[in-house]
């Protein structure tokens, strides 16, 4: 029985014919074993081509590195008899902070020779084997020195055959512990505050005969976790040690070491350390304790594990934090990082080391909780939090409750130790965004689905985002595109309410709201009480009109929102709306494209008709041509009427209105799960507050089982579209998070556009039967996928904003929406 760590780089060591491959086959999965023979074959088509060895090992080390980076046990099946070859393996293991392990297969030379001779592809002589045997003897002496943390030597064929392997877990792997936990920041000998904090957290203290606390128990079985730096500077380091040692021994607490414990242990071991940073105080206090206590404290500290991975991998605790690549790894540098953090090598004006802001670059899914750096107020930065609130310097002692993430603090009773540098605000979290978070081919799991963003789409979005869009801190959501309803087969219609209702019925929706579709420009509005950070932006995240119109518009929206802000008890709101009229934003486009075509058609067709009429008057047979031109003339008139309906004169903001239809989010909350009744009621409140600024959205609620209601809604749609309306959007009544029977998101709405409106989309003459037939073959699949993906990304962005996620986590989703929009899709849909 031999034990190896669950995650390790295992080097099999043995001469040719020692049975390494057989051993590997018996104990490991084929994919876990990287054999030098196999890699020689890959490189040179010949497993025995020694000239390919260097390249083969290069490739083998590369693959081993990839496996270890992903946390997978890796076994190297090669003779591994040469120190330089083994040194490479140790290097690869250390690079990924896993333990290198050697398993030596030591068989009699005679047996190895017998096996070698039996293999037709081995053509070396006995002297070669003898040399290998000598190398093996030499290797046996040096393996441990070379850095192999465990060396198992199996002697003889029988022992090898009888060996079993057991996997041991790393000390830092406590994933099975799920808490709940109370994670406590740097105590630094502040025993009184620690007692108060534990009681505040609901623990009951157990005291010894001298009334000193020696344990604390939580009635609900909660466990405390100390982030280290229990000692130094404060008034009672031994008292803190006694309590924490008692809790750990009783299983009521876990503890990771801090740099101060580390230094104390070194001092107690007689090492020469500088007596600074509060160590003399601790030593003086320990002077008064019996030797047994000091010895047990030393043993306690030496037994501490530098970091823990807890709660199924969702929580990592280390004194100075830990970057993701080091989670659950074991090596000197992992321990060093956990104890001291990463420093830049510079010192600040107080002579203290400048710390590298590893948290700024942290992108892991596990929350990292740590201490070490005093900060006035704990703040989440990229899913990491520092709990050292400088109790010993007169700050507070802080605990984080897990998994609720609630912070509990007790103030210091006094300043026990003068800080070297003022306890200033933490270095402002650098919210700068990293290019690597948005570019290249990206896979996103966002809770409502998963998406792969193609690199070229990210590249296109990068240009839009960085050249034209608002500050990403403001731009927390972009409107998703919307798919039209399935194509209607009704005579003369490409889109019709009947298919819209069918679409939603098939998605399992029972009740829908039909909302009038305003034809203007999509506008997302963020307003707050203070006005700070307020903005209005377009579909692609650009400022809407620019300065100063945007500020003027926002001021009016802000005024109208006052009551709603109060009622929802939020400081800010995110509103989804349409800005009207279309011509307010799109005047240039209308003139250049739509009206230009209209003017050309209205000039050309009468002129042609006039020629044809005069030819007819001369008795020429032009009836067919005349009818064709007359039809065209009617079509261009219909087309002209369609775009004209959305042109209204505006002057500055005069004549501009907003039609809000959803209130998406506020302070710490996403309103996406509210039904549309709620959203529209708020929209109505805004209309009531400022009727000249806000346009109401007409609507109808339809139960999809009720044929009469459907018929009434169809009539309503016909009326709406006959008088210049664009059409309607049919949405699941339950709101933006509506799901189908299998729990998947359904389309948040399908648009159903009017017959006349579609002339400006599909061309004036699209209503001709032969054209309609052709257009009915339009393919909606891609558009629907895009709409659903963007919708899900947007919902996830709102959730992340609500939970206070780091900016990059929100921005990656918003960016993905923009990137998705650059996928080629039929723009008429």
């Amino acid at each position: 029985m031999i034990e190896i760590p669950e995650l390790a780089l295992v080097a099999l060591v043995g001469v040719s014919g020692s049975g390494k491959s057989t051993f590997a086959r018996a104990h490991f999965k084929p994919t876990q074993v990287l054999s030098s023979d196999y890699f020689r074959g890959l490189i040179a088509d010949d497993e025995n081509d020694q000239s390919a060895s260097a390249d083969a090992f290069d490739a083998l080390h590369y693959v081993a590195g990839k496996r270890l980076a992903a946390g997978r046990l890796t076994v190297v099946d090669a003779t591994n008899l040469q120190p330089h070859g083994r040194a490479e393996l140790v290097r690869v293991a250390r690079e990924h902070d896993v333990l290198p392990v050697a398993i030596v297969l030591d068989v009699p030379e005679a047996l190895a020779w017998e096996r070698t001779e039996a293999r037709p592809d081995r053509d070396f002589g006995r002297p070669v084997l003898a040399r290998m045997q000598r190398d093996l003897r030499r290797s046996l002496r040096s393996l441990a020195r070379e850095g192999f943390r465990k060396v198992h030597v199996l002697r003889g064929a029988d022992e090898i055959a009888a060996t079993e392997i057991r996997y041991e877990r790393l000390f830092n792997d406590k994933r099975e512990l799920t808490g709940p936990f109370d994670i406590i920041g740097d105590v630094h000998g502040c025993r009184a505050e620690l007692e108060t904090l534990l009681e505040r957290l609901g623990y009951t203290l157990t005291r010894d005969a001298s009334d000193r606390p020696v344990d604390a128990v939580h009635p609900e079985g909660r466990q405390a976790i100390f982030v280290g730096d229990l000692v130094d500077r404060g008034p009672d380091s031994p008292g803190v040690l006694r309590l924490v040692m008692g809790m750990v021994a009783a299983g009521h607490a876990l503890c990771v070491p801090g740099n101060h414990e580390q230094k104390l242990a070194r001092k107690l071991n007689g090492r020469n350390v500088q007596l600074t940073h509060g160590l003399p105080e601790t030593l003086a206090q320990l002077e008064l304790e019996p030797d047994e206590f000091v010895a047990s404290a030393k043993g306690f500290i030496e037994g501490l594990v530098s970091h823990y991975v807890l709660d199924g991998g969702r929580l990592v605790v280390a004194h100075a934090g830990l970057k993701e690549a080091y989670h659950g790894r074991a090596s000197g540098r992992v321990r060093s990082f956990a104890l001291y953090g990463e420093t830049t090598g510079e010192t600040d004006e107080y002579g203290l080391p400048v710390r590298y802001p590893w948290a700024r670059d942290y992108r892991g899914s596990a929350a990292v909780v740590y201490g070490h750096t005093p900060t006035p107020k704990p703040e989440w930065i990229n899913n990491t939090i520092c709990l050292d609130t400088g109790c010993v310097f007169g700050g507070a002692l802080t605990a984080l409750r897990w998994p609720s993430r609630e912070l509990v603090s007790v103030p210091a009773e006094r300043e026990h130790y003068a800080p070297v540098r003022p306890l200033a605000a933490a270095e402002r979290p650098d919210e700068g965004l990293d290019l690597a978070d948005v570019t290249g081919r990206r896979h996103l799991e966002y809770g409502y689905g998963r998406a792969t963003i193609a690199a070229e789409n990210s590249a296109a979005a990068l240009e839009v985002m960085s050249r034209f869009a608002l500050d990403p801190a403001t731009l927390v959501w972009l409107p998703p595109t919307m798919a039209p309803c399935s194509t209607s087969t009704l005579d003369g219609y490409l889109e019709h309410p009947a298919t819209a209702f069918d679409d939603l019925r098939q998605a399992g929706v029972e009740r829908v709201v039909c909302e009038e579709k305003h034809m203007g420009s999509r506008a997302v509005v963020r307003v707050s009480r203070s006005g700070a950070g307020d903005a209005i932006w377009t579909r692609t995240g650009r400022p809407f009109f620019g300065s100063p119109l945007d500020e003027q518009l926002l001021a009016r929206v802000r005024a109208a929102c006052a009551g709603v802000l109060d009622e929802l008890a939020t400081d800010w709101l995110l509103i989804d709306a349409e800005l009207l009229p279309w011509s307010a934003k799109a005047a240039g486009l209308i003139r250049e494209r739509y009206a230009g075509v209209g003017a050309a058609g209205r000039a050309a067709l009468p002129a042609a008709l006039d020629v044809v009429e005069r030819a007819a008057a001369r008795g020429l047979d032009v009836a067919g041509l005349r009818d064709g031109l007359a039809l065209r003339s009617a079509e261009i008139d219909g087309y002209t009427a369609a775009y004209r309906a959305y042109v209204r004169p505006t002057d500055g903001l005069d004549g501009v209105t907003l039609a809000p239809f959803a209130v998406l989010a506020g302070d710490g909350v996403s309103y996406a799960s509210r039904d549309h009744g709620w959203h529209l009621a708020l929209a109505d409140r805004l209309v009531a507050a400022d009727p000249s600024l806000f346009t109401p959205t007409r609507r109808m609620i339809v139960d999809l089982g009720d044929a009469a209601a459907e018929a009434a809604a169809t009539e309503w749609w016909l009326d709406l579209t006959a008088t210049g309306g664009e059409g309607m959007v049919v949405k699941p009544w339950t709101g933006l998070k509506a799901v189908d029977g299998k729990g998947r998101l359904v389309q948040p709405g399908v648009k159903c556009r009017g017959r006349e409106y579609l002339r400006i989309i599909y061309g004036p003459e699209y209503t001709r039967p032969e054209q309609l037939d052709r257009l009915r073959r339009r393919n909606l699949g891609r558009k629907r996928n895009m709409a659903l993906r963007e919708h899900g990304l947007g919902l996830a962005a709102l959730d992340r904003v609500a939970e206070g996620a780091p900016l990059w986590r929100v921005h990656e989703l918003v960016f993905a929406i923009l990137a998705t929009e650059s996928e080629p899709v039929d723009p008429r849909l």
């Binding site: 960085s466 005047a587 042109v647």
Partner: protein, 457 residues
């Protein structure tokens, strides 16, 4: 789309012989983009009008393209005269265009009174006049207004030409100039287009004052074609006849661009940089200069536009450089509002005419990513001096439509001082370009160097 030809030559109905289309019939032709008709709304001895009416089938027009573009579905092609009409004209009136007539061989060469009307044609009154008047036409080009609710004119004119010319000349003028006014072709333009131009332009194009413009537009702005055509039109004088691009404003900033580049290079030399970043390199104007200088061992051009980087790669012939040269140059897409680890550790970064393309609220992000994160030892920034703009006659607003701001000298100095203080650089400002007493130089340059304590640390 429609074109009518009217004559009052006596007998006017001879027009039918010249066009080889009988006035009493409706002639119908299938053309690739629809159906062309020739018919006569009037045909008396005194006055005869032939109409060429092209009924465009948008479906068939669309089939020639495949890209998704809304313009494909809503466009003016069925209504405005264009290369579609010119092609139909060439097909339907082939012999008249050639100046051949079996029945009226004498009349072919005789100027006759003609009135041509094209009711809808893309273009301006001014351009239509410039193109047709030198050919002997008296031109009326009336802009077609947009609807009153929008106000203003559309980009179309109703064109009427009156003159006494041979029918063949008239048709050749139309054949060439309709697409020229429309400034587009509905088909792929191959080298044989040059022959078509020379054939139809025979006898009039070589002497036309706007022949360069005509040839340029007719040959859809393909420079190689244009050169060939002009060579054939006038021999060796061709080169001198082609100005840089007469339809763009005259490039008066060209010498300034050189002065600016030289100033940037001088600053780089001054700080002794060998590994340099050109941030916002665009099409690679500066990169070309850097590549020529061997002291630069590593040159990185970044731009947010993937397209610009492609242009730069082509301009620098990146794929054809020898390997050793190729490894000196890297072109990366990057955005200055994001931090980018790849850009750390260089000697110098150049931001040449870049900052003014960023909205002012986004500048702090650029400052953090360049001065804070990438942290090159030196940064060279150039930007226009807004005060100098008064010296540009006719310039209203800013120098480039994408400029989000242009700074005065004081504003630039303030910004540079603040950035230097925040990120621990020292800065010196210098003028670039010719000095104007009152307003300074057209360009201003700031050279940031990281403070010495940092360098030794």
């Amino acid at each position: 789309m429609l074109l009518t030809v009217t004559t009052t030559h006596q007998p006017a109905t001879d027009l039918g012989f010249l066009l080889v289309k009988h006035p009493d019939r409706v002639h119908r032709f299938d053309v690739p983009t629809g159906t062309a008709y020739v018919l006569y709304p009037e045909a008396t001895d005194e006055r005869c009008t032939a109409a060429l009416l092209l009924d465009v089938d948008p479906q068939r027009l669309r089939a020639q393209h495949d890209a998704f573009s809304l313009g494909q579905f809503v466009n003016d092609r069925p209504y405005a005269a264009s290369s579609l009409l010119a092609s139909a004209l060439a097909k339907v009136f082939r012999s008249a265009l050639r100046g051949a007539s079996k029945d009226r061989p004498d009349l072919v060469a005789t100027p006759i009174p003609l009135v041509i009307r094209v009711p809808v044609l893309r273009g301006t009154t001014e351009l239509a006049t410039r193109l047709f008047e030198p050919l002997g036409w008296s031109v009326t080009a009336t802009p077609i207004p947009l609807e009153a609710s929008l106000g203003g004119d559309s980009r179309y004119v109703d064109l009427e030409l009156t003159g006494e010319l041979t029918l063949s000349a008239a048709l050749n003028h139309l054949y060439v100039l309709l697409p020229v006014l429309d400034d587009a072709k509905h088909y792929w333009v191959a080298p044989d287009e040059i022959d078509k131009l020379l054939r139809s332009g025979a006898g009039w194009l070589a002497d036309h004052p706007d022949k360069v413009l005509i040839a340029r537009r007719y040959l859809v702005h393909k420079r190689a074609f244009l050169t060939t055509a002009l060579e054939q039109l006038e021999g060796d004088e061709a080169d001198s006849a082609i100005p840089a691009d007469p339809e763009l404003p005259v490039a008066r900033r060209r010498p300034l661009a050189e002065q600016r580049r030289d100033a940037v290079l001088a600053a780089l030399t001054e700080v002794g940089a060998t590994r340099v970043l050109d941030l916002g390199c665009g099409g690679g104007a500066l990169l070309t200069a850097l590549m020529k200088d061997r002291r630069y061992t590593e040159i990185v051009g970044t731009d947010v536009s993937a397209r610009s980087l492609e242009i730069a790669a082509r301009r620098l012939r990146l794929d054809r450089l020898p390997e050793r040269q190729q490894t000196r140059l890297k072109l990366w897409q990057s955005a200055l509002t994001y931090r980018d680890d790849r850009l750390r550790g260089y000697d110098a970064a150049v931001l040449m005419e870049v900052v003014e393309h960023l909205d002012p609220p986004r500048l702090p992000a650029l400052e953090a990513s360049v001065f804070g994160h990438a942290r090159p030892a030196a940064v060279v920034v150039t930007t226009p001096n807004a005060e100098y703009n008064v010296n540009y006659a006719g310039l209203t607003g800013m120098r480039h439509p994408d400029h989000r701001f242009e700074w005065t000298r004081a504003e630039f100095a303030d910004w540079a001082a603040r950035v230097a203080a925040t990120y621990d650089y020292s800065v010196s400002l210098r003028p670039v370009g010719e000095v104007d007493e009152a307003t300074g130089t057209p360009t201003q340059l700031a050279l940031f160097t990281s403070s010495p304590s940092e360098v030794t640390a």
